[in-house]
Amino acid sequence: MATTDTKTKVGTGVGFVAILVWCLLPIAWIVSLSFKTVDETNAGSAQFLPKDASLDNYKALLGLTDDPVSDAAASDFGQALLNSLVVSLVATVLSVLFATLAAYAIARLEFRGKRLVLSLALAIAMFPVVSLVGPLFDMWRTFGLFNTWPGLIIPYMTFTLPLAIWTLSAFFREIPWEMEQAAQVDGATSWQAFRKVIVPLAAPGVFTAAILTFFFAWNEFVLAISLTSTQKARTVPAQMSYFVGPDPFNPPYGQLATASVIVTVPIIVIVLLFQRKIVAGLTSGAVKG
């Protein structure tokens, strides 16, 4: 028995290291690339670590140089970051708000069409987004929503609502709602019972749904390139995909890697702080349902 236990332990240890390498190697790679100088990448540098690390790419992307070309790129990137932040945050707040209402109804109330709502959400979660791009492109131009923030926020809400509704309704079903009545019996007003009992119980679920929604909106690409045409509304993924630099045969490795690092930092911070919640949220909607 002891040998199999040791074997399992060794196997788990090897697996543990393998998972870390698998997940983090490409991240380490873009970080390393972001410190390589333009001269090094232009000459071709097959080694993993930079020959002499420099902060030039970061300076250029943050607009700290006197070079007008990189200043223009920096202001485009800054605008894209702003677009991404506004679009993702607004879509997240609205989507989670509406999903909370819907999930409360699904978890607590008996009404006709409940199953239909859940099926609709599931169907939209699997919907091929590209097949909407044509008609939406046409409609958005008619309504003046093309190349604007709301033009992205609205479809982002549509495609994050299913995830938020599923996560939240799974979560709300686990809440001991009778505690609300118990508090009222103990003399709390309905508002107090809601604020002091239900809100603290529901908040973690709502927060988790918000993180997952934000990830989706921050990552979205198909709609972002189809429903925008200029820097005015382009989000980070769209802006990055169009950023090829002056020489099409020599992509600006360092700058793209630097932009990648900058937009990945928020993701890593959120993951570090809330990993337990994210895992619970991701799996609750899908497995426990």
């Binding site: 393998a18 997940c23 209402l101 109330l109 409940k114 099926s119 699997m126 079903r173 991701l282």
Partner: protein, 321 residues
């Protein structure tokens, strides 16, 4: 699809779920009305951005309609569909997409299951491993595609120098210069990015398999392989099914990586990319809409086939669990 998937709700009795009372019909009516009011905003937003445009795509697909020449709009029946279905490009891209879907999901199932086994057993630093596994999940797909594009770059990548002992890989190998090598690079980036999601879903399924049952099989002399194939996997069927369904449909929509890594060069275009190119780059709304409708129908068909293939409906699986 919805016929088999629509009953996902099984309240756990232990969680203190309160069965709504139906003592008075007034109360039931009021509850019904409140329920509808609460779901209304979400439903409206989901429907106006999907159902209406989809119907419009269906309508536009019957016309010759190009945005650069809007006056030429003319009803042509099913001609657009015939054009699309008769075009080898459509079939090539569909084949590419199916290939990517089948290969990536199969590889992810294996790697994801291995990861899930490790995470299930790991007792030290569970936070570290959860954080690591969530980074590929959370990272922007475009960023991941760039990272892998640079990894496979001939001048600046590390694959050619690290793996030059593998037959066929030499320092000058241009991964994006050939169909199969480019497809390989695209699939690697897709697998890297989405395996974590797969492994987390499988982990959730794995943790629901009772340890007692595995122990009992062990006592009865079942080998490791027998325990895996006869006890663990059958009891995880629902979780595997959910993971495969979600991932397969997600992989079928592959777009971002291809856009960044090859822009469809070397015949690496996917169905989504073809539709995008027709609609946005060439402004062919008629043909593009026909492609959109076909893509939508394919996804529906896939969802149906996968649920049939696994012969599990979610409701039943959850009722047992």
């Amino acid at each position: 699809m919805s016929a088999t998937l629509e009953t996902p709700k099984t309240p756990t009795p232990s969680a203190g779920h309160q069965k709504p009372r139906r003592d008075t019909s007034d109360r039931a009516v009021a509850e019904n009305r409140l329920g509808l009011k609460l779901v209304a905003p979400a439903v409206v937003i989901m429907v106006i951005v999907t159902a209406y445009p989809m119907l419009r795509a269906l309508y536009l697909s019957l016309f010759r309609y190009r945005l650069t020449a809007p006056d030429d709009k003319e009803f042509i029946g099913l001609s657009n569909y015939l054009t699309v279905l008769g075009d080898p490009l459509f079939w090539r891209d569909t084949l590419n997409t199916v290939l990517i879907m089948v290969i990536t999901v199969s590889v992810e199932l294996v790697i994801g299951f291995a990861f899930a086994m490790v995470m299930h057993r790991v007792i030290f630093a569970p936070g570290a491993i959860r954080t690591a596994i969530l980074i590929p999940y959370g990272i922007i797909t475009v960023v991941s595609a760039f990272s892998w594009q640079f990894t496979f770059s001939t001048t600046n990548g590390w694959v050619n120098s690290w793996f030059n002992w593998v037959p066929g890989i030499d320092p000058d190998l241009n991964w994006f210069g050939g169909h199969w090598t480019a497809m390989f690079a695209i699939m690697v980036s897709e697998i890297w990015k989405t395996t974590p999601f797969m492994s987390l879903l499988l982990l959730a399924g794995l943790s629901q398999v009772s340890e007692d049952m595995i122990e009992a099989a062990k006592v009865d002399g079942a080998t490791w392989t027998q325990r895996l194939t006869k006890v663990i996997l059958p009891n995880m069927r629902a979780a595997i099914m959910v993971a495969v369904l979600f991932r397969a449909l997600d992989a079928f929509r592959i777009f971002d990586n291809i856009f960044v890594m090859t822009r469809g060069a070397q015949n690496t275009e996917s169905s989504s990319f073809l539709t995008y190119r027709q609609v946005i780059e060439q402004l062919q709304l008629g043909v593009g809409s026909a492609l959109s409708v076909l893509l939508f129908l394919t996804v529906l068909l896939l969802a149906y086939l996968i649920t049939k293939l696994f012969r599990v409906d979610l409701a039943q699986a959850r009722g047992e669990g």
